[in-house]
């Protein structure tokens, strides 16, 4: 197992390197002196010179890259152009809010997706299956920010069932925290629910076609037992894959939802930073998003191997 892990990490290295180069180049893609971009308003020649020295902008590009990379590895992710606080701090301050949103959204999507996907698979071809499939495609077609807006309008403004926005940390007050995160989580989780349902359904259909299902029936197992004991465990193994990837993509999903619900998370920070031309923050967030995705990919493979007894990494 460890050799497999090491091998995978080794293979990831060139990709990770390319990712860092890409992120590094972000600032340099825009026309103009990066120093001006970073400085924003205070453009006195002295300030410009200082930034040039700090970032080594007078040095060749690849040297700059290594300086930057070295800083990143040592935890110095730069400072925000606007607030001057360390990027790492800005991100970690907002990460819990995003994580809570993402995880609740994921849980919501699974609570909806797995039962519905299973039912659709068992009743394959029936009307309820076709309706479910139609809803699924609709679910991935409706922009999640739109769902968010509709939810806000109906549940929050009109019916006053849920509060609009406002983040309460989980540690402060769990119940209120959940109440506040519910709407954005539903908005965020709906597309995921549709995808997961689709996937659960197709996975379940495939599993139900296997011979061991017939064996279980021949043993006198009821359909309920066959589906929930024999089939589900097999069918959910591939589902773990996409769930893992969704965890890795939490920041991506959060961007829009946090904007709609003014949720104080990393996603909203990203959008604000774009408008503020706060490149260092954008770099930090993009880097974090990319790396979480890559690591999620790796973890998913490992978990898959652990779940399926046939796979051995020896």
């Amino acid at each position: 197992m460890t050799t497999y892990l090491l091998r995978r990490l080794l293979l990831m290295l060139p990709v990770a390197l390319l990712v860092t180069i890409g992120v590094f180049m972000l600032i340099h893609l825009s026309p103009g002196d990066p120093a001006l971009i970073i400085l924003g308003e205070d453009r006195s020649p002295a300030a410009i010179a200082q930034v040039h020295e700090q970032l080594g902008l007078d040095k060749p590009l690849y040297v700059q890259y290594f300086i930057w990379l070295d800083n990143i590895v040592h935890g110095d992710w730069g400072r925000s152009v606007t607030t001057h606080e360390p990027v790492a701090v800005a991100i970690t301050d907002r990460l819990p809010a995003t994580l809570e949103l993402g995880i609740v959204a994921l849980l919501w999507s699974l609570i909806v997706a797995i039962p519905l996907g299973t039912i659709a698979a068992v009743r394959r071809g029936s009307l309820s299956d076709q309706i479910a499939t139609g809803i699924t495609i609709a679910g991935v077609s409706i922009p999640n920010f739109f769902i968010g807006i509709v939810l806000i309008f109906t549940l929050s403004v009109t019916l006053r069932l849920f509060p609009f926005g406002g983040y309460v940390p989980l540690t402060t007050d769990p119940l209120q925290s959940l109440r506040h995160v519910m709407l954005p989580a539903i908005a965020l989780g709906t597309a995921g629910a549709a995808i997961n349902m689709r996937f659960t359904r197709s996975s379940m259909i495939e599993v139900l076609n296997h011979d061991y299902i017939r064996t279980a029936r021949a043993k006198g197992a009821s359909w309920r037992r066959v589906v929930f004991v024999h089939a589900l465990k097999n069918a959910l193994i591939p589902v773990v894959t996409i769930v893992g990837l969704q965890i890795g993509g939490i920041i991506e999903g959060a961007v829009v939802t946090e904007t709609v619900f003014t949720w104080p998370g990393v996603g909203r920070l990203a959008v604000e930073s774009i408008f503020n031309r706060d490149y260092t923050v954008i770099q930090g967030i993009v880097l974090l998003a990319a790396f979480s995705y890559m690591i999620a990919n790796l973890l998913v493979d490992l978990v898959y191997g652990w779940l399926d007894p046939r796979i051995s990494y020896a």
Binding site: L18, L29, I142, I149, V150, F153, T259, V286, F291
Partner: protein
């Protein structure tokens, strides 16, 4: 999201022409329905200047916030008195072209990379695919946002950004087909005779490529429209006063209590459009896959 490759595993190279679209339309209801929907959308986009009752940019402060079914304004008007129906219809002229340019960028850019990578093999293949992996390491929206952040907000940059996101998908798809063909016995045989199988491969390449690409393009189009709407919603895509659905939702969300239609109508428009493309891609995938077996 449906940005995943739709690679269909063909067992032998297809020598005949791919299943004619007419046959598909005849035998698969979902494909027909989806094609009809997509067709209508194109018509709307094409005919918007003709069928819109008003100029989408014309403001009329006296007529602001009109509710739907007001005289002259079937769907009402927005905060500046612009006709909502006209703006929504014209919105198709923004979203659809953007989506298609983006998909085209992905298809041709990625396709070229995949072709070269698959045919050349070896170090070239290795390097190119690592590059594609690096692109894929970024969650799609994040990558698009990063590119737009670097290049500056605007429709043109949004198109480029979404196109770049699509590149690795097509690169992988085309490469997979190329690899399949390279391994086919007739190619190996030709090679062993010392001849260059390139012409042979090209001849078989397009037919084998057509089916997965058609499916992928449909799905990519849906994804691209959603991505464009998202970028515009965030203010990174279409800028005022261009009538763009995503941007209209953003603007309209401020007036939810007064006039919810301002946000709901464009939202419905996006949903229907993306749904049509997703349905098309989905039904095409189902329709084309089993046929290849027979």
């Amino acid at each position: 999201m449906s940005n995943a490759p739709a690679i269909v595993a063909a067992q032998e190279p297809i020598r005949r022409t791919p299943v004619a679209l007419v046959d598909l339309l005849r035998t698969h209801r979902r494909v027909t329905a989806a094609t009809a929907l997509v067709g209508m959308l194109f018509l709307v986009a094409l005919l918007a200047p003709v069928i819109s009752p008003h100029d989408p940019l014309a403001t009329s402060p006296d007529n602001s916030y009109l509710p739907p079914l007001s005289p002259g304004h079937l769907l009402g008007s927005d905060e500046l008195g612009r006709d909502l129906l006209s703006r929504v219809l014209w919105g198709a002229r923004v979203s659809l072209p953007v989506a298609f340019v983006a998909v085209a960028v992905g298809l041709f850019g990625g396709g070229l990379i995949g072709l070269v990578s698959g045919y050349a093999g070896g170090l070239v293949d290795l390097l190119l695919m690592r590059l594609m992996d690096a692109l894929l390491a970024f969650p799609g929206l994040i990558l698009a946002i990063a590119i737009v952040a670097a290049l500056g907000p605007g429709l043109r940059n949004a198109m480029i950004a979404i196109g770049v996101v699509a590149v690795p998908v097509y690169a992988r798809l085309v490469r997979a087909v190329m690899l399949q063909l390279k391994q086919m016995e007739f190619v190996v045989a030709t090679r062993s005779l010392g001849a260059n199988p390139l012409r042979l491969i090209i001849g078989h390449f397009i037919p084998n490529l057509l089916n997965p690409v058609i499916v992928q393009v449909s799905l990519s189009a849906g994804f691209a429209i959603l991505a464009e709407a998202t970028l515009s919603f965030l203010g990174l895509g279409a800028q005022l006063p261009t009538p763009d659905w995503g941007q209209m939702i953003s603007a309209g969300s401020a007036f939810l209590t007064n006039d919810p239609w301002l946000a709901i109508v464009p939202g419905a428009a996006i949903s229907i459009t993306v749904y049509s493309f997703n349905l098309l891609g989905d039904s095409l995938r189902d329709a084309l896959d089993p046929r290849l077996r027979s």
